[in-house]
């Protein structure tokens, strides 16, 4: 009986973690910035490294490394009437490969999901295509699920890149 409960509980955790990853991409693509921001834990980090083996986000350079404060500024600006680069408004779509659930990391107490993705962003006539792998580290509370780390490794992070106007 207890074995069944545990298995069911594991399945439930897996579902919640995977659902969070899919919800996050959907909120980004729908430009629901406030709802997107609310998925991040107070101690969360949003990280787009410059190299795939990068371990230090502070003293090494990254394309983005943002805490909730910086993410809030990013979202705040989305509705600013003179955020010039948002006119015309950029739009994006994430195409996710089936996310891979890697279970609980006992050391951090966080659930891990890795997802390969493709990303298309348009602004007026301009279009860019990016792809890579995103790693979510997720805290599952009794009710809510929160992103503690979203790390995005672009396959061409080391290339000379054009502006990427929206959060990946």
């Amino acid at each position: 009986m207890s074995t069944n409960t545990t298995a069911a509980e594991h399945e439930r955790q897996r579902e919640r973690a995977l659902a969070l990853v899919i919800t996050e991409a959907a909120l980004l693509d729908a430009a629901r910035w406030q709802a997107w921001l609310a998925l991040f834990a107070p101690d969360a980090r949003y990280w787009v490294p410059l190299t795939s083996d990068q371990t230090d986000p502070v003293l090494q350079q990254s394309l983005a490394y943002e805490d909730p404060l910086l993410l809030s500024i990013r979202v705040e600006r989305m509705s600013h009437p003179r955020a010039w680069s948002l006119f015309p408004a950029p739009r994006a779509v994430h195409v996710l490969q089936a996310p891979i659930y890697l279970g609980l990391d006992p050391a951090s107490g966080l659930y891990q999901v890795d997802t390969a993705f493709g990303y298309t962003e348009v602004r007026g006539q301009r279009e860019i295509q990016l792809s890579g792998r995103m790693r979510h580290r997720i805290r599952l509370g009794p009710i809510d699920a929160q992103i503690v780390l979203k790390r995005i490794d672009l396959i061409n992070a080391d290339a000379a890149l054009p502006s990427i106007y929206l959060p990946l």
Binding site: T51, L63, L69, I73, H80, A83, A160, L161, P162, S163
Partner: protein
């Protein structure tokens, strides 16, 4: 059809002292001439010695359409050479960086070269009997280019006849490199990781003008600065006790500074297109002090020099045509034109050895939130630059206006007074940009192959800082204590640094 190649007058008509004609930004012919007559004749940024610490370490780079190898030599020096096999032109190495032992071998037919680029061996040698290989250019090995090192910054000049680094670059600008290096109590910098790289669909000069454009800051970047302010105010009012201003907030809020502050920043221009913006203050002036750092600096440099270095934080020092750098943060941008409407910007960060990590953290944070392809601040710059490129191509007005600040620079007889070698200007003065076009015109109308030599810098030590004479830190170490920015920076036209010039090793 070659309009400009054949006619200096046609080129002269592109800049009249106050206006730039749109062809300067749009013409592929002008772009080709810029590569030949400006970029190929100027000292450009190649890299930093810390990228190639051991003999045989190399990086690859591309400048003005020429692919290059920068290789650390056995004697500790560095040499820049064409990354093009003397046999049939294959690139010797295509990766960004790497190491070779003693010799570098071509991946095509195995010709090999010593670290200095000279030809070491050609396979199947007997097959060349009776040929003229030995007297051909191939026997000369890899084309070696003039290489100079200043405070571990490595420069290259593709023109073998060009005057040395110190003859082209005013001592005051080299003094700004000193000021960055001397932020390290050990007087040494190290490249911190790979650089950020942003490709922008605009002419390189649009980016370069903006290096000296303070007027745009609170217009273009209003949304970033005000959003940061709004979020920070909400955060503070929600917090029970006073919070320390986070680094990112400290760096973002000054972008809303008004034009009064910008004007008082002040700037200085030199013949040759060089400039320093922010000689009195900058958006970086009010970063909080770092505990223990000042004491370490005083111990290293003595109080007067330490205070001088710490007080010095220009908005941008510009070594024309392509190096823009700060002092605090330790940031250096390199503008690499890729095409008439395509520009690559590299954003490098430096660690000041022996200084607290927070200096590097500040540099990386600033570069990321202001220059990254994902930066909301850069987004608003980039979209304006790209829109200028489109706007200029349209029918109607064919001119870019750089009229601002002309009043103070006219001589009594009404003629332009922009011929002097150095001048101090207000921080919103478009002379900071006109100065670039003066140098641009001088470079482009030169129809012969003589080297570009800036009139002002010639007064400094005219000695060539060629590969042989420049031996890295030692060349400049000796001069470090006598150079740099005097504490008294508000005294009219006093030079920023002593005019003693650069000490040669």
């Amino acid at each position: 059809m070659a309009i400009y190649r054949e006619s200096s007058e046609a080129i002269r008509n592109l800049y009249d002292g106050e206006r730039v004609h749109r062809d300067a930004y749009l013409s592929t012919e002008i772009f080709a001439l810029e590569m030949e007559r400006l970029f190929a004749r100027r000292w450009l940024y190649a890299g930093h010695m810390s990228q190639v610490p051991q003999a045989g370490d190399f990086i690859t780079l591309e400048i003005a359409g020429t692919t290059l190898l920068m290789i650390r030599q056995a004697d500790g020096g560095v040499q820049i050479m064409a990354n093009r096999c003397a046999h049939k032109g294959a690139m010797l190495r295509c990766q960004a960086s790497g190491h070779v032992d003693r010799a570098i071998q071509c991946p095509y037919h195995a010709w090999s070269y010593r670290l200095d680029g000279s030809l070491l061996a050609v396979p199947l040698r007997e097959g060349y009997q009776g040929s003229h290989l030995a007297t051909s250019e191939a026997a000369g090995g890899l084309t070696r280019f003039q290489t100079a090192v200043y405070r571990d910054f490595v420069f290259v000049c593709l023109d073998p006849n060009a005057a040395g680094l110190t003859a082209q670059v005013p001592a005051e600008l080299l003094g700004c490199l000193d000021a960055m290096a001397d932020r390290s109590p050990l007087g040494r910098l190290e490249v911190a990781g790979p650089c950020l790289r942003n490709v922008i669909e605009c002419n390189w000069k649009i980016y370069l003008e903006n290096i000296n454009d303070t007027v745009h800051a609170n217009v273009t970047h209003e949304s970033s600065a005000l959003s940061a302010e709004a979020v920070w105010q909400r955060t503070q009012s929600a917090a029970p006790s006073a919070l320390k201003k986070p680094m990112a907030i400290e760096q973002l809020l000054p972008f809303s500074s008004g034009s009064d502050f910008m004007e008082k920043m002040g700037g200085r221009v030199w013949a040759g297109g060089h400039s320093i913006l922010g000689i009195h203050a900058s958006l970086h002036s009010d970063y909080s002090s770092v505990p223990g750092y000042e004491q370490a600096m005083i111990a290293a440099w003595g109080e007067p020099r330490a205070k001088q270095i710490l007080a010095w934080s220009p908005q941008n020092a510009l070594i024309y045509p392509s190096i823009a750098f700060k002092s605090a943060p330790q940031t250096l941008r390199v503008i690499r034109p890729l095409g008439v409407s395509r520009t690559l910007v590299e954003i490098w960060a430096f660690r000041a050895l022996g200084a607290p990590d927070i200096l590097l953290e500040r540099t990386q944070t600033y570069n990321r939130i202001v220059f990254s392809p994902m930066s909301i601040v850069a987004h608003d710059d980039v979209q304006v630059f790209e829109s200028i490129q489109r706007g200029l191509a349209g029918a109607g007005n064919e001119w870019v206006s750089l009229h601002r600040g002309q009043a103070g620079t006219r001589a009594a007889d009404g003629s332009r007074a922009e011929s002097e070698s150095m001048a101090t200007v207000g921080g919103t003065d478009e002379r900071l940009m006109r100065n670039q076009y003066r140098a641009w015109l001088e470079a482009l109308v030169m129809s012969d192959t003589a080297s570009v030599e800036s009139a002002s810098a010639a007064s400094a030590s005219a000695a060539s800082a060629s590969a042989a004479s420049a031996s890295g830190a030692s060349a400049s170490g000796a001069s470090a204590s006598t150079k740099g920015i005097p504490a008294k920076r508000d005294s009219g036209d006093a030079p920023l640094v002593s005019s003693a010039g650069v000490t040669k090793s």
